[in-house]
């Protein structure tokens, strides 16, 4: 899943990791960030129409990765509670 290196090995993942990986949070958040980074400058500051999508995409991708880690922790915690 990591852009430019190599994606995570699906065979080496456990069920929770695969479920979180399937949601593709960083990729989706990157698209949301790029979209906002494009739409907002177009409406408010056209001079930022090139930088906006780049900044938005990077910020979105970072936020997506953070959310993916959080979601995985949640799932693992739920599994732990269920096991108890």
């Amino acid at each position: 899943m990591a852009i430019g290196r190599f994606r995570d090995d699906p065979e080496a993942m456990d069920a929770s990791e695969r479920e979180v990986a399937a949601a593709q949070y960083p990729e989706g958040a990157l698209v949301v960030g790029m979209g906002l980074g494009m739409a907002v400058p177009m409406a408010l500051a056209p001079s930022l129409v090139v930088l906006g999508p780049i900044a938005g995409g990077i910020a979105g991708f970072g936020a997506g990765r953070w959310f993916r880690r959080r979601r995985l922790r949640q799932l693992r915690a739920d599994e732990g509670h269920a096991a108890e």
């Binding site: 430019g4 593709q24 990729e27 698209v31 949301v32 790029m34 979209g35 999508p53």
Partner: protein
């Protein structure tokens, strides 16, 4: 996963593949886009064609390597989902219909303009007739399309030579100045002219249907790009050399320009070549895109009914209808030739950027397939350079588009957002983990391709 029962039954050889690819790549830009692009960018459109050939060359490299290493139906979708990430791969079949619809509209508009050179019929009627014809012959089967294609490509090449060779003697060098009357329009022209090279990328979508794909795909790609580049540069060079660029701007400008140095029958023949060219390009675009959608449906990320093959014709008829029918409703939007072409070029190169990342990952993820490629590059030299060049070209396309036509970029990103919502919807309907596994693995018969080659090498060694 497929058990092979819904694989496509017909297979085509090098000549037919070359005709399919050259026919798709050479026709639309030459006849439909040259006039409008020259009318806005001026004589610089010649250099724009050369500039567009540079990212196209990298695209050919990606396709030659991936196509020979992993010949599969739905090539780009499979490469990106398996080698980069499932969502980026999913965007290929999700965005492809828009690209095909835009392509059909551009081409059908050109068809109407050139047909009106001979017949005084309403342009809208001609557009509808072409769109219906294209869907019908594609549903009827690949071999039928390929046979049409070879005849039309042969006629097209003769028509182009009829324009280029006599036209070269009628060029007025003063028409080449000023070379860049509008730099922004020049940049847009380079992006729009990337669209013709899409034909090379679409070749790999036909992987399962090509005889000896490891040899045929690289030969067809490199042969095709050389033919197309030479023809295209020569043709726009004659066009802007014969007619001052300020007088250009219409889709049927080639026929008008031909009237300046050819007798009436010659100009009519050039215009007739346009009709063949238009038919060949729409045939290939819809044909190859349908295979991508079919493959995504096989994986379950699209509705499975789209993977169904027609019992009599052996074609993915439902996918073909998804691609061919909507443009009939969009005909009123067909006038924006340059905007639609920029959309096609931008969406395509963005997909190839992710494809380049997939190529970088190929030796690590599927080493046995990479070993099968007809030629290989070192990962930290050739492959890295190919990826970086692809990223640079894609970034440049985006910057120029955002500066000159930001709405095109916004539409594309907006569609990606819709795509993410639909992707999440589809995986919620299925077992997420199972879907993720499917979208990161090859089908059994695709894995067997690499194994079969390894086995044959072993037997030869013994």
């Amino acid at each position: 996963m497929s058990d092979g029962s819904d694989l496509l039954p017909e297979r085509v050889g090098l000549l037919a593949v070359l005709a399919l690819v050259v026919g798709n790549a050479i026709s639309v830009p030459i006849y439909v886009l040259s006039g409008p692009l020259a009318g806005s960018a001026g004589p610089g459109v010649i250099l724009a064609a050369v500039l567009a050939a540079i990212p196209a060359g990298f695209v050919v490299l990606y396709n030659a390597l991936l196509g020979s290493a992993m010949p599969v139906a739905g090539g780009l979708y499979v490469y990106i989902s398996r080698l980069t990430s499932p969502f980026w791969g999913f965007l290929v079949p999700f965005t492809l219909p828009l690209v095909v619809w835009a392509s059909l509209l551009v081409t059908a508009t050109g068809f109407a303009h050139y047909t009106r050179y001979f017949l005084d019929l309403p342009a809208t009627l001609l557009i509808y007739l072409l769109l219906v014809f294209v869907v019908a012959i594609n549903v009827a089967g690949l071999r039928l399309v390929a046979q049409f294609q070879m005849v039309f490509v042969a006629a097209l090449v003769v028509a182009l030579l009829t324009f280029i060779v006599p036209g070269a003697t009628a060029v007025d060098p003063s028409n080449y100045t000023p070379l860049f009357p509008d730099l922004g329009a020049f940049g847009i022209a380079a992006i729009a002219l990337f669209y013709p090279f899409l034909g090379f990328g679409l070749l790999t979508e036909l992987g399962e249907e090509i005889d000896d794909p490891g040899r045929t795909i690289p030969l067809a790609l490199f042969g095709g790009v050389a033919i197309v580049t030479v023809f295209y540069v020569a043709l726009v060079g004659v066009l802007v050399g014969v007619v001052p660029w300020t007088e250009l701007g219409q889709p049927a400008d080639l026929a008008t320009a031909a009237e300046r140095f050819l007798p009436p029958w010659g100009a009519s023949f050039v215009a007739a070549g346009a009709l063949f060219a238009v038919i060949t390009s729409v045939s290939t675009a819809i044909l190859t895109a349908s295979r991508t959608i079919m493959r995504a449906a096989r994986d379950g990320i699209f509705p499975e009914s789209l993977a169904r093959v027609h019992p009599r014709f052996g074609t993915p008829y439902r996918a073909l209808l998804v691609l061919g029918a909507p443009p009939l409703l969009l005909v009123p939007l067909a006038d924006e030739l340059i905007g639609l072409s920029v959309f096609i070029g931008l969406a395509s190169l963005t997909a190839y950027f992710f494809c380049a990342i997939g190529l970088w990952n190929l030796p690590r993820e599927f080493p046995e397939h990479y070993a099968n490629a007809t030629f290989r590059l070192r990962r930290y030299r050739g492959l890295l350079l190919a990826v970086l060049a692809g990223a640079l070209a894609t970034g440049s396309f985006w910057v120029v588009t955002l500066v000159r036509r930001p709405v095109v970029g916004l539409v594309l990103i907006g569609w990606f957002l819709v795509g993410y919502a639909y992707y999440r919807h589809r995986i919620r309907q299925a077992d997420r983990a199972s879907m993720y596994r499917t979208m990161t693995r090859l089908d059994d018969h695709e894995r067997a391709f690499a194994q079969a080659d390894v086995d044959s090498v072993t037997m030869a060694d013994e």
